[in-house]
Amino acid sequence: MKTLENISIFDNLECKNFENSILTKKNISKFLYPEYENLVFINGKFSISFSNFSKNISIENKDFLEINVCKRLNKKIHFLHLTTNEINSNLSKIKINIEKDSKIVILQQFLNFDDNLNIFKNVFEIFLNKNSSLDHYILQNSENNFLLNSFKINIFENGLYNSFLSNFKAKISKFNFEVNLNEKLSKAFVNGIYLSKNQNILNHYFEINHLESFTESSIFIKGILKDESKAFFEVSTSISKDIKEISAKQLNKNIILDTTAKCYSKPILWIRSSDVKCSHGSTTGYLDQDAIFFLQSRGIDLLEAKKIVLSAFLKEIYEKIDLDEVKNFIDGELL
């Protein structure tokens, strides 16, 4: 096994090879949260020199980067994924192993450092062991990139995966989620928001596998689209044979702000058991003009009226967010 030191791909990188580089501790520290364990990745590669984390997180480099999170951890973890054309690298594989009986919060943020068009692919595999819970916030705000993110979430007995996904700015972004409810009483809830504009193409694919009895899943994503952009939503929930007391929900709602944007929505249920409670739905429509008229008739100007209606549309999802950092980030995007 390689040691931590050996995998420090970008260790001591700071301003070494690049004149006028933006990759300085000062620049990067602006994006870090002091109260978090901060793990910094640049173009998919882990940087020790820019990261700061305690011994409750251990990191090993195998074919992939393996991050082990110990239940003693009492801080939240911030994964900062920065992209820049200064470094020629674009693929990362990260395995996150969460110890049993842990209660962990991960904030995973994707940002870009320059305006160049780059292609990045990240593969994440998360193991949520017995009695552990993970609140997983994913904020994709990386502009001008082709960003492909795959998440494979393995949940074991009485594990709880609670995720919030926001997907905002990439030229093309693709989020693939495979969620395996492997053992009884495991639960997965994914809520999310996408804002699609400027000809963005935003893709969201979910594969939810109920492999054992007494498991529960819910996927609830809302989207707002405009400016010739496209958004794809597909969720395929599969319920295995001979398992019982399953609850599975799928819901996608979209508002299209002009006639040039397009939305494709496909909720699919594969039910092979009879003891299930399932629901699925999808709605897409334009901004409610009657609501806009009503708000304007009470003295609110058109722009503010649109903001009120859109904020109200997102409120259901927004209220599920517990982290102020995430709420502030979303607020900034909506203004």
């Binding site: 003009q289 009657d290 609501a291 008229f293 009503f294 708000l295 304007q296 008739s297 009470r298 003295g299 609110i300 100007d301 058109l302 503010e304 009226a305 009120i308 209606v309 904020s311 109200a312 549309f313 997102l314 409120k315 259901e316």
Partner: protein
Amino acid sequence: MLEIKNLKVKVKNNDIIKGIDIFLKKGEIHVIMGPNGSGKSTLSNVITGKNGYEIEGSISYKNEDLLKKSIDERAVLGIYQAFQYPIEIPGVNSLNFIKQSLNAIRKRKNQKPLDSIEFKNLIKEKQLELGIDDSFLKRDINVGFSGGEKKKFDILHMSILNPELIILDEIDSGLDIDALKSVAEGINKIKNGKTILIITHYQRLLNYIKPDIVHIMKDGKIVLTGGREIVNILEKEGYKSFEKTTL
């Protein structure tokens, strides 16, 4: 205060209002009565500024060309339309919205926005004045409100914004006798000095709010204008008997 001259309105090439003239002086209460499809609600929407209409003629309000104003500019000028079917907006808290709307108008009139305490005091004062409890104000706009609560919310909002021209568009529809009486009492409490245009099918609201001028509208035209006695004629003879007449 409000002058409507030779107003013609089309929707998707269909003539809805076919040339009407109405003049409302400050402080007058006018009522427009007419059967379904006569163009009454279209008229109130056109005054408020709703989109989707092809409009000819003129509407001036306090000597300003109203048709050149946006919907919100008309609200700032003091025009308030109470809707027949108040819209539900899940996700927008009723009380916060009243405050937001009041402060939006105050800001555009270069008045200082009310802070939370000032607003709380104002709303309590209006609630006491109108006899409206605040239980439904904690909910989102009109979501889960009874028909009566929707109209009370409208009247409370109206009293807070303190408009000069109030358009009541069939606010009596869907109300039982007690709720109608309660809503009418609310309007009577805030009507002093205000100009009111009531649009209704029925005479029953007029048992509580006494109009100065009554217009009968039929097939996009005002076919009769006169005093309160028209209401009694209408009750006896219905709309079919009216031709274009002025009493």
